[in-house]
């Protein structure tokens, strides 16, 4: 049956390979839709979606909003800065208040890991995780894998290295789960202080030397250094990080093979990746952004089709 095995998108961990492939095939269709003269379909005209961002976001929020508008859904937006949270309202109360306005889907970003899991036990609306603390960011992982699939055809047996701050990155964890489910081999690379101690137990290779990692891989996903999550210093200086883990053109030239370079954005140009590399033909950073809309349309479409089948 071509149907998702889940009712909410809480994380990649809950999906199986078949689910991911259904999402990809549906995204293929939506990618064609968003490249037509009229980039909109009327499918979700009777669905209402609430975007609840309890943590700042620019591109994910824009991408979700655009995906929802392209599907003709009605949307309401909420961001923590201007809400009653500051007045002491609980998460369930906030969400239930919004749901009583007859909302069908909740897209939520929340600073606490597991907030979506918790909410899914208490409300009926479909929930899409747009990032929960340092836990998961499933739509980012899906669009990353989709972008690799678009370039390489399939992920089976492909080698992907994720470079940077693995410890604080929800993008890294979701990517690891998604890549493994699709049959890719995953390595993480970065300073030991930024690599979780037990990560090798989930079948991930660990490498501290960027050059060796690049020689091994087909795809390098360069993560952003999250200065806002580093309350203590994990490396001596940004300059040292850049020297050891920044990806530059001379380094790419040295490894003697063509690898794909990705970045979930926003880029700290000149830190994890130089401008020359970010704008080179190896980079698929802008494809990732375009694919993000198609992937989010696919997820919203597939989950919506489960709402109170008429």
């Amino acid at each position: 049956m071509k149907d998702l095995s889940v009712d909410n998108l809480l994380g990649i961990k809950q999906l199986n390979e078949n689910d991911i492939n259904i999402i990809f095939e549906t995204a293929d269709s939506f990618k064609r839709v968003i490249n037509r003269p009229i980039r909109k379909v009327p499918t979700l005209r009777d669905i209402t979606i609430a975007n609840l961002f309890f943590e700042n976001s620019t591109r994910t929020k824009l991408s979700f909003e655009l995906a929802q508008k392209r599907l003709s859904a009605d949307i309401i937006n909420f961001s923590a800065g201007s809400s009653s949270l500051k007045k002491g309202e609980t998460l369930i109360d906030t969400v239930n208040n919004i749901l009583s306005m007859k909302v069908d889907i909740v897209v939520m970003r929340h600073p606490l890991p597991g907030a979506h899991q918790f909410l899914s036990r208490h409300i009926d609306a479909k929930i899409i995780n747009a990032g929960d603390g340092t836990h998961e960011h499933p739509t980012q992982a899906l669009l990353d894998c989709y972008s690799i699939r678009e370039r390489l055809g399939s992920l089976k047996g492909k080698k992907v290295v994720i470079v940077g701050d693995i410890m604080h990155s929800r993008v890294a964890l979701s990517n690891i789960f998604a890549l493994q489910k699709l049959g890719a081999k995953v390595m993480v690379c970065g300073p030991t202080t930024l690599i979780p101690k037990y990560i090798s137990q989930i079948g991930v290779l660990v490498e501290n030397n960027l050059k060796k990692a690049l020689e091994w891989c087909d795809v390098a996903n360069m993560l952003r250094i999250q200065l806002e999550r580093q309350d203590i210093s994990y490396f001596p200086s940004l300059r040292e990080y850049k020297t050891l883990y920044g990806l530059s053109k001379p380094m790419l030239d040295k490894i003697n093979k063509d690898i794909i370079v990705m970045h979930p954005g926003p880029i700290n140009r000149g830190v994890e990746i130089t401008s020359e590399v970010a704008d080179s033909s190896n980079s698929i950073i802008l494809d990732q952004v375009e694919n993000g809309v198609a992937i989010r349309m696919a997820i919203i479409y597939l989950l919506s089709s489960k709402i109170n089948r008429i």
């Binding site: 269709s29 839709v33 597939l302 089709s305 489960k306 709402i307």
Partner: protein
């Protein structure tokens, strides 16, 4: 289930040929026309007509395929999600005479969705509808075809299948009628 043959292989090819000549009457040399098959089954009719027309006219005929999934009116009314097929239109339909093509015109709902879908590719100067089989008296909405291979009278519980030589080994149209209890 009782089955009866609506069109045999010979009648099938005569019908396709007649439809082609009817198209030529209205579209002359097809210089500003496009044939667009509705996914999934309209594609077979479109390909056959394209082949026949190209034989007759000795020139290439512009064709494409259109998926109507996202424009359907039965979203959330099925047990599984509606999974889309491929749309293959690498040209604009702006100011073109478009012929939408399907194998069976039954309720008319697919064609209704097709009309909405085609408008997202531009504003055609004219849209016509060609169907190999028309099930008369079964339409749910007021949609009629401009070119009809064969019109048949059926009741709701009956089913029409179109077999294609390239898929099923034989060109044939069959009517399935449930046995009376």
């Amino acid at each position: 289930m009782k089955t009866s043959e609506v069109l045999n292989s010979l009648q099938f090819s005569h019908t396709i040929r007649r439809l082609c000549y009817q198209l030529i009457e209205n579209h002359n040399d097809f210089s500003n026309s496009a044939l667009i098959g509705l996914q999934p089954n309209g594609i077979y009719v479109t390909n056959r007509i394209k082949k026949e027309l190209e034989n007759i006219c000795q020139k290439e005929i512009l064709t494409g395929s259109l998926d109507i999934t996202f424009f359907r009116d039965d979203f959330r009314r099925k047990d599984t999600p509606l999974i889309p097929s491929v749309t293959n239109l690498d040209f604009s339909v702006e100011n073109k005479k478009v012929v939408l093509i399907d194998d069976v015109l039954f309720t008319g709902r697919t064609v209704r969705s097709g009309l909405d879908a085609i408008m997202t590719f531009g504003r055609p100067s004219k849209v016509e509808l060609l169907t190999l089989i028309e099930r008369r008296f079964s339409h749910h909405i007021p949609i009629r075809a401009d070119y009809i291979g064969k019109s048949i009278d059926t009741i709701e519980s009956e089913r029409v299948t179109v077999n294609w030589e390239e898929v099923d080994g034989l060109d044939q149209v069959i009517l399935h009628t449930p046995e009376e209890k």
